[in-house]
């Protein structure tokens, strides 16, 4: 993939300075180290950092159509670009390159905003028309590719990452209270809100057009589900065959639609094993596979990863991650995520993509999305049990079902177990209301707000942070309880956290592109159309996918219990060996400068965790882990983006495209 940035003036004034555009795009160097490009006229400037994957020879950007009507900067891939090109040719469009970028330009000329729904891909792009001064921004359905926007001083600025916007000294840098509030509830800020005041994230599946002084926002895709439907066993068989076929097409397309070799991540779980298996026969020569191992036994899945690699006959690479590795790399991880996180899990993903790059591979298949569209997560099973319990809240028999999904409850004595059950009992009366499924998770994260300092708590309390439940689709209430939970999981966590903080940002931090067969539009459309019982059958998660996998994945992988991807959290940052920055970030003066957390409360948390560690008293609780990582990462965001120096001028940028057409600045407005 790549990085894009640009500035467009919205009224009278000067065009964007060349130096500004260069220093913006220099901030995106990690996303596209293969070449920089610049387009600039008296209204607009577009800049591009390229990671060359398709059309290595003529795919440089910015690029225009033959008559220079539209210019584009594009991050991502349009996997069906060959088919679209054929169709566009038959309608009289001409092509000068074999890139997917040029297909977007002509598709927009032909179909306007209807073109987005024809793309099978992952994208964030900006189209600019110098003659009409129109700017079109668009982002893919699930939010694989990032896009941020800032308006101010008569200009609109956009970029793949916030740090490029902050390269402009006219863009102010402060925390956004809503963005922080949302983080400590939904685990991530919810687009269009970001952790930074004035910086907007273009929502996945939407576009925006700036034209003649007006701004038009539109939706080209959103998850949708049928009303509750019943099904028969023969439908399940048909659905299994259909899913197998669509997944195979999606996996192959993501391997063949590249002019460089595409590798694959293997987590040791079902999803990535299956897509690697389905895609492998399309990879010319040997597939390169990549896996994460952990020094901590509880997180390690290497035996299963090796099993799949052996079956694939792939050239397998693995890295082993220690607590110290996580602590050391964490500031860099937050530099890329540009948001606070409540888990360290993005850190190993950054180390993994570094290994991919070191092996000379630029793109990888990964299994993300399966747990959301096919109901793999415990949160879906938990919600089903809570709904069953809610029918008779006084029952002590019904909550025994939690033993089935949380085996650690099995060994607990009566009273301890009742305590655990009491946690899921909260909000039982909300059954049938939107958000019922996510109540326990959101309440858990929101409890971390007790670490807020008084001033921040007052500001946060005064501003009622918007949330996902404030703008649900009209049809939401007609969907099955499982579909409602899937919608919330997809929009609140997959897009802003899994695909962003833990996905794109850690992949592109090392110049590696991720490709996601489960997020193929045909795969998603099928899965979303199926009855809930196909996906979550009783409490059997991803039931349908397991039927598909029977023919492809080693039996040991199918038989193992699903292990959520986790990494060691607070323990990485405790003890004498912790890096110096940890104490620096958690110091009273630094905490006060950021103005979010109460130094006394943070000190007490650190003291508790250090004592626990020194005395060897078990592992930190989930709440303490999330509090520590959330606070540390918020502090690192503040340190690196709010008080850190602005980006320096980029003297060393070498441009492969450098276009400044003659002045055509007769104001049309």
């Amino acid at each position: 993939m790549c990085g894009i940035a640009g500035v467009v003036r919205l009224g009278p004034g000067d065009g964007p300075p060349r130096e500004l555009l260069l220093s913006m795009v220099a901030q995106l160097r990690h996303r596209g180290p293969d070449g920089f490009g610049l387009y600039r006229d008296s209204w607009a400037g577009l800049a591009h950092a390229r990671l060359a994957i398709v059309d290595l020879t003529t795919g440089d950007q910015p690029l225009s159509d033959p008559d220079g009507t539209w210019w584009i900067v594009f991050n991502g891939e349009i996997f069906n670009h060959r088919a679209l090109r054929t169709e566009l040719r038959s309608r009289g469009h001409r092509f000068a390159t074999s890139s997917d970028t040029e297909v977007i330009v002509n598709a927009y000329r032909e179909w306007g905003t209807d073109c987005f729904a024809r793309f099978n891909g992952q994208w964030a792009f900006a189209l600019w028309s110098p003659s009409t001064q129109e700017l079109v921004l668009s982002r893919d359905p699930s939010g694989i590719c990032p896009l941020f926007v800032h308006e101010g001083g008569g200009r609109v600025r956009f970029a793949s990452e916030v740090k490029a916007l902050f390269a402009d000294p006219d863009v102010s840098r402060t925390f956004d209270v809503d963005g922080i509030q949302q983080t400590f509830m939904y685990w991530a800020s919810q687009a269009p809100v970001t952790p930074f005041s004035g910086i907007e994230e273009l929502r996945p599946g939407t576009y925006r057009i700036y034209r003649a002084g007006k701004v038009e926002d539109g939706v080209h895709w959103a998850p949708t589900y049928p009303p509750t439907i019943t099904a028969t066993p023969s439908d399940l068989r048909a659905a299994t065959e259909e899913l197998a076929e669509r997944l195979q097409i999606a996996s192959r397309l993501r391997i063949t639609s590249a002019d460089v070799p595409v590798g694959a991540y293997l987590s040791g779980g079902l999803d990535s094993s299956l897509t690697a298996m389905l895609g492998s026969d399309a990879s010319a020569g040997r597939l390169e596979t990549f896996s994460l191992g952990f020094e901590d036994d509880g997180f390690d899945e290497r035996p299963f990863q090796r099993l799949v690699a052996t079956r694939l006959g792939s050239r397998h690479h693995e890295i082993t991650v220690s607590r110290a590795d996580i602590a050391e790399v964490f500031p860099e991880v937050i530099f890329h995520s540009e948001r606070p996180v409540l888990r360290t899990a993005p850190a190993p993903m950054f180390l993994l993509s570094r290994a991919v790059r070191a092996a000379g591979v630029k793109a990888v298949l990964t299994g993300e999305g399966a747990d959301e569209i096919l109901a793999g997560y415990d949160i879906f099973r938990e919600a089903r049990i809570r709904a069953f319990w809610a029918r008779r809240p006084e029952s002590t028999v019904r909550p025994e079902l939690f033993d089935r999904i949380y085996p650690y409850l099995d060994g607990m004595t009566g009273r301890t177990k009742r305590m655990a059950q009491a946690f899921w009992k909260i909000g039982l009366e909300d059954v049938g209301r939107p958000g019922f499924s996510h109540g326990p998770r959101w309440r858990g994260a929101a409890s971390l707000r007790r670490f807020y300092g008084r001033e921040f708590a007052d500001a946060a309390g005064a501003a009622d942070a918007p949330g996902p439940l404030d703008h649900l689709p009209d049809a939401f209430g007609s969907w099955s309880p499982l579909s409602q939970a899937q919608y919330l999981e997809f929009t609140t966590l997959l897009s802003p956290y899994i695909l962003s903080s833990q996905g794109d940002r850690q992949l592109l931090g090392n110049g590696v592109e991720g490709r996601f067969p489960f997020l193929d539009p045909d795969v998603m459309a099928l899965c979303n159309s199926l009855p809930a019982g196909f996906k979550l059958r009783s409490l059997d998660e991803k039931h349908l996918l397991k039927q598909v996998a029977l023919d492809h994945v080693p039996a040991e992988i199918l038989a193992r219990k699903k292990q959520p991807y986790r990494a060691p959290d607070a323990v990485c940052f405790l003890g004498d060996e912790r890096p110096a920055y940890v104490a620096e970030m958690m110091r009273t003066s630094t905490l006060e400068a950021a103005g979010v957390f109460d130094p006394t409360a943070v000190r007490a948390l650190v003291r508790k965790l250090e004592a626990q560690r020194a005395e060897g008293r078990g592992t930190p609780s989930n709440a303490d882990n999330m509090a520590f990582v959330g606070i540390l990462s918020t502090q690192l965001v503040h340190h690196q983006f709010i008080v850190g120096p602005r980006a320096p001028h980029a003297a060393d940028i070498r441009l492969v495209v450098d276009v400044e057409p003659p002045d055509m600045s007769q104001d049309h407005r």
């Binding site: 028969t232 023969s234 069953f388 029918r391 029952s395 028999v397 019904r398 009783s538």
Partner: protein, 82 residues
């Protein structure tokens, strides 16, 4: 709903949700012993019966004697049906 309608409904629900075939189970077959359902399957089956009858089952009635076969479910449910 009468007992016959309930019986027909249960046969089809069990076939669709637990057997994954268009076959049927015998009305007196033990669903637990035969492995057709386990505790999570029981949750689904009991939830379905509750939906049908518009009642919720008390803890003391949540026992195999009431839910282990189609015959037993029908016997348990009959007093609850209008």
């Amino acid at each position: 709903m009468d007992a016959d309608a309930l019986r027909t409904d249960l046969r089809s629900f069990i076939a669709t949700n637990f057997l994954f075939t268009d076959d049927a189970v015998a009305d007196d077959m033990s669903l637990l012993e035969s492995g057709v359902i386990d505790s999570t399957g029981a949750m689904e089956l009991i939830g379905h019966v509750e939906d049908l009858l518009g009642v919720t089952v008390a803890d003391e009635d949540l026992v195999a004697a009431n839910f282990d076969s189609i015959d037993r479910i029908v016997a348990f449910a009959t007093p609850h049906m209008q």
